[in-house]
Symmetry: C2
Subunit: 247 residues, 2 copies
Amino acid sequence: MSSAPSAQPLSLERLRAACSTCGLRELCLPVGLSDGELDRLDDLIHLRRTVKKSQSIYRSGERFDALYAVRSGFFKTSVLLEDGRDQVTGFYMGGELIGMDGIGTEHHTCDAVALEDSEVCVIPFARLEDLSREVHALQHHFHKVMSREIVRDHGVMMLLGSMRAEERLAAFLVNLSQRFTARGYSPSEFYLRMTREEIGSYLGLKLETVSRVFSRFQDDGMVSVQQKHIRIIDIPRLKQVVGHPSC
Amino acid sequence: MSSAPSAQPLSLERLRAACSTCGLRELCLPVGLSDGELDRLDDLIHLRRTVKKSQSIYRSGERFDALYAVRSGFFKTSVLLEDGRDQVTGFYMGGELIGMDGIGTEHHTCDAVALEDSEVCVIPFARLEDLSREVHALQHHFHKVMSREIVRDHGVMMLLGSMRAEERLAAFLVNLSQRFTARGYSPSEFYLRMTREEIGSYLGLKLETVSRVFSRFQDDGMVSVQQKHIRIIDIPRLKQVVGHPSC
DNA sequence: CGCCAACTTGATGGCTGTCAAGTCAGGTGG
DNA sequence: CCACCTGACTTGACAGCCATCAAGTTGGCG
């Protein structure tokens, strides 16, 4: 099951995945590495995998042995409760790392699903640990990435635990805007890759509520919403909404 | 501010903090280390710090340079929003690690406050990274600890995002029970170290709601509640509540 | 013994969930 | 090319869970 000889299973492609030539390297794992160190990371990450829309990289319960860096596309991760309810725990775009949930138990604890046709770089975890014992900068940066994931989760907990619907959606949009900006896209105009239901699941709201709040934001002239096409008209005001209980 | 010469500031005591003789070592950082490796960890963790009730180990914004292992006592971590609202992001007991939020930015992003008189072992992070480049088992276990923190946060997100008040409190009690059990205490009888307000903040509920749900559980004969003294009478039923939307 | 924080309990209201109907956009097949 | 179909979204009406406000109770501590 793990050591396929030559025939490749679906959606697994032997593409050279060189970090050294990747446009996302300043956002991804190679941050802070010298050229020589980068070459060593290239030796490790030599596999790319394409994931079609609605396919998964991994499912909850599967054995963990690699992390995945988003090279292109968009992903969600979600956990399932036995009664069918599920909770989206994160959205991931280019340069972000998926799969760290699996390290602790050596099995994945959530599903990672592509929201559009995407590509990920496969990072065999055992080899990453090997290399990061030799390359200090890699070790340190990897720790930072994991730590930031924890801090990000705390932000979501704050959002879920003590914000109202409008604040949640405003915080969500501001966050997306910042992440698109860091990737060279427009801070104010983008397409949502996820459905209202997925946004709602992430924010602890029902899809109808998400839709209603979008409409309210539009009526207030803060954003323009046309299905999945979002244009943020007044970012400062949106940021202001986040810190203000109601009015 | 960081390099106090000989005079010790309050609540900082030069106590030998040997992992090798610590009763919590099977739950804490030394898991999986050989005797020789344990000695090397002892060299690193040679400082213990007492923290009185309601004092903090660190506050949000302070520079990060160490992790803290709970040796005795009980802690909460919480993040603050500018408007004063705060969110408890976690409770920590013996053998658990606090402070990983600070690695990413080299500054702490939350407050870590003692809920009773407590003691922590100070783990200088730079030296932990040094040692874990040499001791594979330490490196791997540390990664597992961080990963589990992420998984734990996902659990809380699930709880906050898609559970009702009764389910949240039931999940909270079951979780506490399991952690007490792992430490050799009774699974069914314990004292809560936190107030109703802190429980509520963690669970995304108001303190009145927490109190009401406790009363309901008591009326149903599932737990016996006397202020902070909790006795769980029917653990299976409590677990059942977690997966069931209402009835 | 008295004070105060923490907790409990009741009454009321509002935010968001639920149910339902309708609209929109994109894709398929005739 | 256009009708049709389906999934995603929007909007309305109503209800329920939990927040809010308020008053009392308990227990610990000086």
